[in-house]
Amino acid sequence: MAAAPVTAGPVPARRRSRGIPERRLANLMVTPSLLLIALVALYPVIYGVWVSMHQYSLITAGLSRWASPAGLGNYKEALQSSEFWDATRVTLIFTVASVVLETILGLAMALIMKEAFRGQGVVRTVVLVPWAVLTVVTAIMWKTIFDPNLGFVNQILGGNTVWLGEEPQALLVMIFADTWKTAPFMALLLLAGLQVIPSDIYEAAKVDGATTWQRFTRITLPLLTPALLVALIFRTMDALRAFDLPKVLTNGANGTTTLSLLSQRTFQENRLYGPGSAIAILTFILVMIVAFLYIRLVGGNLRGMTED
């Protein structure tokens, strides 16, 4: 063991002088990981695109038929169907509403959890419980709670609203359940961001006479932005792909069919492999566009701010 560093020392030096150049060696060494990424990430995407460009028929010709025109038939069909646009609208409303609510709640939770007080550990644990619960379990739980006859929501509020049987109430319940479940996740990411802000900045601000509000808007928020941005990207992408919640809560009834649910139904239940993949690829593109917008808009602002 002790001799190892001694003998290991000269080896890279010799390589650098007459073996493989360092740069090529580096490339060589990352190749296995790149291959693995290509295998598990790239291949499925390419295969998905390939499937989405073909016509699948149960009886006739399997996947061999090209979806005309130019392999874009399934995309054309999806983009022309009201189902797709309804699902897109639902997905976007759900994403914006739930992410905004989660961010506000998550930030509030993070600020509370950051403060040192008695029982801090208990609060941190309790806040995280909803996030630890499986989405399917969450959905079943809220479904029961919002049941017009057996749940307690109607007993408290009075009235006999069929929450999951009406539009837009069903979507509201879905946003509510998602917020309940994932605000803690937001809180966790933001708490990590808060904890890296050095406390001497706050102390300096205090000495200079900054109010609590000023400290929050001038110090906390700007320094939290990187963490906030990452949290927002994660949550937005997750929300755009929401599947399990609507599947269990309503199975897509009453204006809760998200893009993922539509794609799964088309692909898996109906075995329309081409159109189902086309919807999945369109969802994928939507997610990528939103991600790039985040980087462009928020990322650009950030760079401007740090240069100031």
Binding site: V51, G62, F267, E269
Partner: protein, 441 residues
């Protein structure tokens, strides 16, 4: 700082990208994308060149045979396969269990068949899949075997294996729903659906499964078939759902929701929600499967000892109906040992096995004689009602695109029940969707 930030975002983005890719991956590989491989036929469903079973072959059967099925949760198939092996020393039968989820089971069998694998000699197929499998030429034509056996089975159960003029499986386990009613509130059981709703209105109403899923397709078709409606034309090429009978049945159901006869929230209910609603004593009638009987009689429910079951009544101006559930034994066309497969199938529809399955595992038999067995009657107070329900039952549309047909039905029926569409419009939309689905295969 700014470079580090960029790296941060790129990492986050890549992470997100991989997650998204996995999402589309599970979509693309889930159904095992291979081709159907069969040649097209432009006329009415007709399956040519399918392998035909030879009933005499099972006499000298030996070797290995595998029964594939969903997870054997009740343990009956495991026990009975063991029994089969000791009764047939020349044959070694094996059980291969798939997932508990019905969709997964279907996918796992489909994957094997698309690969022309002989791994599953026999598959325990849900009644709604049999036509799809047959249309892909994945199954043995069982007609010659059933010719001699048919008379012992409840005739209705054969409707689920009947496709393109041949019989593609052996009905092994069946199911049909009941109308549960509170006999402390209802003195004489009503004889028509209209009376049921009248009595329900005077008492505490009715609960059924109105959420948009397979269960609602059953609930609706029970009324629609009774009213004289159909889903597909006789040649199975076109939708026949937009008929006055179906609109009438749907109007009847929608009125029930509007007038408050059906439970508030019924449009979001599946089996378990309806059962809990009924067990809490809130409804006079409930439409549900036989499994709810024993659970309702348990101590602690508000209805224990206060309810009975009856087969569905007549629809005024129409007849009686019910929807068949259950499983068929089907033999794979790629089986390397069809003789032993048939022997195993034959064993599972023998009266002794069917009786054991019923009394010990609550799986309703397809043999008519088992329902009249004294032991069975002692164990199940509702044995005769169940036999009656099964006898008046019909198969759900037998079609390779059944999942889409069912969706067209339950989504539109649900819309009509919750008042978002008129019954006439709902049936018209369903009609378009079913025709579109039929055009895809």
């Amino acid at each position: 700082m700014s470079r580090r930030l960029t790296a941060f975002f790129v990492a986050a983005l890549l992470g997100g990208g991989v997650v998204a890719a996995c999402g589309s991956d599970s979509n693309s590989s889930g159904g095992g994308g291979g081709g159907g491989g069969s040649t097209s036929s432009s006329s009415a469903p007709k399956i040519e060149g399918a392998k035909v079973i030879d009933p005499a072959s099972m006499n000298g059967a030996k070797g290995n045979v595998t029964l594939c099925m969903g997870k054997d949760t009740s343990g009956d198939k495991t026990a009975l396969v063991k029994q089969f092996n000791s009764a047939n020393p020349g044959i070694t039968a094996k059980l291969l269990e798939f997932s508990t989820s019905a969709d997964e089971q279907r996918a796992q069998f489909v994957q094997r068949q698309e690969a022309k694998s002989g791994e599953c000699d026999v598959f325990y197929s849900d009644v709604i899949w049999t036509a799809e499998f047959a249309s892909q030429k994945w199954l043995y034509d069982m007609t010659p075997y059933l010719d001699s056996k048919k008379s012992e089975l409840i005739p209705a159960t054969l409707k689920t294996v009947d496709y393109a003029g041949k019989l593609w499986g052996v009905p092994q386990q069946t199911d049909a729903a009941f109308l549960y009613y509170r006999d402390d509130q209802v003195q004489t059981p009503p004889t028509t659906w209209q009376q049921v709703y009248d009595v329900a209105k005077q008492n505490d109403g009715i609960v059924y499964q109105g959420a948009p899923y397979e269960g609602l397709t059953c609930d609706f078709l029970e009324l629609a078939f009774a009213a004289g409606g159909k889903v597909l034309s006789d040649d199975q090429k076109k939708s026949a759902i937009n008929s006055p009978q179906n609109v009438k049945a749907l109007q009847f159901m929608a009125d029930g929701v509007k007038n408050g006869v059906a439970a508030n929230g019924v449009t979001t209910y599946m089996e378990e929600e309806s059962r809990r609603y009924f067990e809490s004593g809130k409804a006079t009638f409930m439409r549900n499967w036989p499994y709810a009987y024993a659970l309702g009689e348990k101590k602690g429910t508000a209805v224990a000892g206060k309810f009975k079951v009856m087969p569905f009544p007549q629809f005024e101006g129409g007849g009686k109906a019910a929807i068949l559930g259950g499983h068929n034994f089907v033999i794979s066309a790629y089986s390397k040992n069809p003789a032993a497969a048939l022997k195993l199938t034959d064993f599972f529809i023998s009266p002794e096995v069917q009786k054991t399955e019923f009394t010990d595992y609550s799986l309703a038999p397809t043999l008519a004689s088992v329902y009249d067995d004294p032991d069975v009657q002692k164990k199940y107070a509702f044995a005769q009602e169940l036999k009656q329900s099964v006898s008046q039952a019909q198969a759900r549309p037998v079609s390779p695109v059944y999942p889409q047909i069912s969706q067209a039905i339950y989504n539109n029926v649900n819309a009509a029940l919750s008042g978002k569409a008129s019954p006439a419009d709902a049936m018209k939309t369903a009609d378009d969707q079913i025709n579109k689905a039929l055009a895809t295969f």
